[in-house]
Symmetry: C2
Subunit: 187 residues, 2 copies
């Protein structure tokens, strides 16, 4: 039994029940330990949450920056970033759910450590859009708002995506990319 096993189990339980509805007892049972034994590996429930949030942020920012660094047309870069983001959510469901839905459960004293790095994600989306604008390929009067729209569509997917659905994450991302790039209007 390792600390990592506990974090993995916690992520899944936080995803299923939400942070506050999940008990240390639940987590202990999932890793086949007694509740008290958890505290040998972990100092508190809050620490588990913070560790999960940090891990999720690290992984996701790394993936986004990998795409951002490529030399692609704005159109393609946006598309590939959306694919990278969505496939991350699909491959790391529970971790992503915690990042997206449970970060509000961080106690105030930990929040300030987390929010700035969280904002970095939104910033990356904004940069991609602004790059597209300055290339003369995109139009948007409020890139910050457009970034929020992108994040909304993708983050919301965590609430409805099923592994056994008809479409793969890449196909879903492609459809969303078409939608954002071309719009609904027939041209």
């Amino acid at each position: 039994m390792s600390r990592n096993d506990i974090l993995r189990a916690a992520a899944q339980i936080f995803q299923e029940k939400g942070y506050h509805a999940a008990s240390m007892q639940d987590i202990a049972e999932a890793v086949e330990l007694k509740k008290g034994s958890l505290y040998h590996h972990v100092t508190s429930k809050q620490e588990i949450l913070l560790a999960l949030l940090d891990e999720a942020l690290d992984l996701i920012i790394e993936r986004l920056q990998a795409v951002e660094a490529k030399d692609l047309s704005p159109n393609l870069k946006l598309r590939q970033t959306m694919q990278a983001y969505l496939s991350f959510l699909a491959e790391n469901r529970s971790l992503s759910s915690v990042l997206i839905l449970e970060h509000k459960s961080l106690k105030p004293e930990f929040i300030d450590l987390h929010i700035p790095r969280r904002d970095r994600i939104e910033q990356i989306w904004r940069e991609i859009i602004e790059e597209g604008i300055s290339c003369g390929e995109f139009q948007s009067r409020e890139p910050a708002l457009t970034a929020k729209a992108l994040l909304g569509v993708l983050n919301w997917a965590i609430t409805w995506y099923r592994e056994d659905g008809a479409l793969s994450p890449d196909e879903i991302a492609d459809h969303f990319a078409d939608l954002f790039i071309q719009g609904l209007l027939i041209r």
Copy 2:
């Protein structure tokens, strides 16, 4: 003190802390009662949640259908529906937050009462898009997915919208409508 006062207070506390982190004690203090007295007006915490979800659904479906019934071009109908939805979120923040973020806390025995009516909302968006397609005004290979995209953008707004922000709900909805209808690409 009325049952409605209790529901209003509960909605606000559920919004701030989430359902499971909120205690009946919290709610009682907000309406200046003792915890036990709440049970004179309400039978359980779950019942409060269910009542809030039902109320929110009623109000929001009513608003959406009012716009849907109008005789508008697909373009305008989509835009006005987005405005109606977003302005509802802004005018009923706590109620909307509960509807969007806390419905997972409904116990299984209540869920079946709620989910079907919840799906009605998604259906309305899909109808609007499909109407636009059959009019030859919109294009979309997966209207169901497009509906989820719309819902995602709008629902996600509940997580970042601030009353003192630079843009009004109508302006935000307008920007989102432009984005969905015209796309990012310069034409």
